[in-house]
Amino acid sequence: MSRNDWEVVIGLEVHAQLNTASKIFSGASTAFGSEPNRQASAVDIALPGVLPVLNRGAVERAIRFGLAIDAQVAPKSVFARKNYFYPDLPKGYQISQFELPVVSGGTITIRVGEGDKAYEKTVNLTRAHLEEDAGKSLHEDFHGMSGIDLNRAGTPLLEIVSEPDMRSSAEAVAYARALHALVRWIEICDGNMQEGSFRCDANVSVRRPGGPLGTRREIKNLNSFRFLQQAIDFEVQWQIERLEDGGTIQQATVLFDPDTGETRVMRTKEDAHDYRYFPDPDLMPLVIVPEWIDRVREQLPELPAAMKARFIDDYGLSAYDATTLTASREVATYYQAAVDAAGQAQAKTCANWVMGDLAARLNKAELDVTASPVSPTQLAGLVTRIADNTISNAIGKKVFDALWNGEGDSADDIIEAQGLKQVTDSGAIEAMIDEVLAANQKSVDEFRAGKEKAFNALVGQVMKASRGKANPAQVNEILRRKLGG
């Protein structure tokens, strides 16, 4: 049997760090990177007698997420204690949500693959719940001992759990990317994966198509999309080989080693914790009244799915273009601003520029779109001048470069200063053509002998003579008339 006889089943658990200024149950700052234990309050280090107080900002972000994925926001949810001992877990329990999470259900639509093979798929979410992060154990630099840094302890997390709906690492990555874009889009998480603001756990199993679910293994703490893909691919291969060798899969938690590209077992089901969840008696049930949800809804920006649909319906963009342009809030905002300035009729042209020249230049310069030297208004000005035939598309690229390099404040300034205005005076074009025909008798002969290619060479010569400014359509027309005579 081959790999193709197996179906891969993947569900993701994502921990998104919520971008509140203070922690979920204390007033300590959540800023990243300060000296160890400088941002750990009495509550965070779990001194005797301290009590948690819920940060409403964290709840509000959970509501935003719930609304963004069209899920149910629970009118009443409950914080529970997850009990286990670890030095970087100061209370000996993590405050999380267990039986009644703040968000249930919801969907995220992903686009997987490229070109003709691209397809869309809707991934169902199980739940999203609020919880606090633990601190960090530092195993280096302490001469055989471990250091504990509790700055991260109490940082608010939204744990977002999907159904096991994904069938390949590509789908898993597409889902993770869409989720990553969404939490940044609705501004609840900075999405910084290096700093651990967005961490993925992947539950992976394989089965015979249509058969019962296989035993899953959970790959913990994947902090890049590349590692997510590599880890799943390795894990799938490993599970299939094991099963095909007649072995069985033990439920286990595994870690991915990016250096070897392999997963290794951290703990098996036998030594899994009994977390002894129970409702935290220090916190009242979290009650979210409909008015609160309404207020949050009013403040929500247009969501990527709605924006994508609008780009397709109103702007006539392809599904691919609309998906690409709404992959991040920043790109979408840039694009929208350009269309607003250039007019809806130029929506497609704007899309081409944003996804083409602009994206290429940004990529090459390793710049984020928010740092683009060419503003949406400047790009719109350029697109407008191409549309009204002030300049050709080719000159447009020159103007774009000039804008990028800061040679002028607007496309108009650059066109004016550099004399790039298209020549549409047919008398002037005719004069140029006459000169070119006189100087290129060989090409004229070849064209007349039936070589269409020679025509293009002549057009090129005319454009060259006009320094690119002659209106290409007029050049074509006049030249053909003269040659065809």
Partner: protein
């Protein structure tokens, strides 16, 4: 002066008849003289107390004294006190100095009360006899071979022996009311949520509530007024306007001869059944007769699920405790074993050495009832019982204004008598625990003496937020009787 009420002390301080420093020295000297026997204090901080007393005197001199400014008090060692050892009666915290003050400590400090020290207690407030303290058993001032009750036994004994005029305590299953009864003082535990738990080392969070001890209801009202009120640092603290519990006491009765006319006292038959010692029954019934004489009517009420209070409590409280006490792991503060191998070994040894037997027993029980496969059968069932018990009280309060009965089924027993039988020990809280399950306020006041001249307490249970009614009722009783003025020989 040692037998004066807080009101009398206030008057003497304001009139310049004494100073806060003088009072502090007076009571500190008594502690020095008597507490070697009683063992009611874990920490006495004379220098700090005198500093606070001097500050109080300065404040009194400016005329800005509050009701408690300059009054000596003691805190149960469950409350965190900045810069002062806070042990919770445990070896685990025998080296712990808190960097912050508990809400209760902060409020009484702000009021100008002068803390003399921290009182002994059952380890982590788990116990009914104060024999579970790492710092040794506390002795009952009425008979030093007897226990003072627990877990706030140190505070109760200190007030009874007049080592301090008033003290704080906490009541999770009766830990203020039962020792108050057994030492012949007045103690009140308010409605759950009235006093912030911030800085009070948690035993069972959904039951723990701070309370106070003093000679009389009048004194308790002053103390409770100082510590009650909303605190945003405790999410279970109730957002209600602050209340002055002394006001109700000052109202004049419509019928001076029958000041409790119109008050309906409910008598639950379950509180007067088997297991109630004859001497306690006699004293409590006599006290109830006195209430009738003062104009109150009595009505029989039923609390059919009260008998389930102890089993429910001994599932839920240990469950919460097993989790609350997880933070004592030897990593950041508190006891850490001197030698250990790996991390697990450090946890095991530190906790094995740091916790006493009763604490370990409750951690084990709590861990068990929360375990996978047992949670539904124990924890959830006990939560259901908790609701049934609260419902019993709700129904009873449709027939009466307060409920009265014995606080404890017996008077103080001999030290060591129940230490080998935890269940017998647990049963001593049979009348108090249901109140914590329901979150209601409860008060115990002296109601005479039983065999051997040991104090008997009467418990008054109120509806939610009826602290003023409880204190007012007890106050009328204390205006007509003098049980609360009796002092053990040691206090003479």
């Amino acid at each position: 002066m040692i037998n004066a009420s807080l009101t009398e002390l206030r008057a003497a301080l304001d009139a310049g008849q004494t100073s806060s420093v003088e009072l502090a020295n007076l009571f500190l000297d008594r502690i020095d003289r008597l507490d070697g026997t009683l063992n009611s204090f874990i920490t006495v901080d004379r220098a700090r107390a005198l500093d606070a007393a001097r500050a109080a005197d300065a404040r009194i001199a400016t005329g800005s004294a509050g009701p408690l400014t300059g009054i000596p008090i003691a805190h149960k060692d469950v409350f965190c006190t900045q810069g002062v050892l806070t042990t919770c009666g445990s070896r685990m915290l025998s080296n712990f100095v808190s960097p912050y003050d508990a809400h209760v400590v902060e409020l009484l400090g702000r009021a100008g009360a002068v803390m003399l020290g921290k009182t002994n207690m059952d380890e982590f407030a788990m116990g009914s006899s104060n024999e579970n303290s790492h710092f040794g058993a506390v002795r009952n001032p009425w008979n030093t071979d007897r226990i003072p009750g627990g877990s706030s036994g140190g505070s109760a004994a200190a007030v009874a022996a007049r080592l301090v005029p008033a003290a704080t305590g906490t009541d999770t299953g009766g830990s203020v009311r039962q020792p108050a009864a057994l030492t012949g003082v007045t103690g009140i535990k308010p409605t759950y949520g009235v006093v912030s738990r911030y800085g009070m080392i948690a035993y069972a969070s959904s039951f723990d509530q701070a309370g106070v001890f003093a000679a009389s209801a009048e004194d308790c009202a002053l103390m409770l007024s100082a510590i009650a009120g909303f605190d945003p640092r405790d999410s279970t603290s109730l957002e209600r306007p602050a209340e002055d519990y002394s006001l109700a006491l000052q109202q004049s009765a419509a019928e001076p001869a029958r000041p409790l006319a119109g008050l309906r006292i409910g008598l639950p038959e379950e509180f007067f059944g088997d297991g109630l010692a004859a001497d306690v029954r006699a004293a409590v019934e006599a006290a109830i007769e006195e209430y009738r004489r003062l104009g109150a009517t009595t009505v029989a009420v039923k609390l059919p699920n009260a008998k389930l209070a102890i089993p429910a409590y001994y599932v839920l409280a240990p469950a919460e405790a097993s989790s609350n006490l997880s933070r004592f792991d030897g990593v950041r503060y508190g006891h850490r074993a001197a030698e250990y191998g790996d991390l697990d070994d450090m946890y095991r040894k530190s906790r094995a050495e740091g916790f006493g037997a009763e604490v370990k027993r409750r951690i084990l029980v709590g861990t068990y009832v929360l375990s996978h496969g047992y949670y539904d059968a124990y924890y959830l069932q006990a939560q259901k019982l908790r609701r049934l018990i609260a419902e019993d009280f709700r129904a009873a309060f449709t027939q009466c204004d307060v409920i009265a009965g014995p606080t404890s089924p017996t008077t103080a027993w001999a030290i060591g008598a129940k230490t080998d039988d935890p269940v017998q020990m647990y049963l001593s809280d049979i009348y108090t625990i249901a109140v914590n399950l329901a979150g209601l306020p409860g008060l115990s006041h002296p109601a005479g003496f039983g065999d051997g001249g040991l104090p008997v307490g009467l418990q008054l249970i109120g509806n939610y937020f009826d602290e003023s009614r409880l204190l007012g009722t007890a106050h009328r009783y204390q205006q007509a009787t003098d049980w609360h003025l009796r002092r053990p020989a040691i206090a003479a």
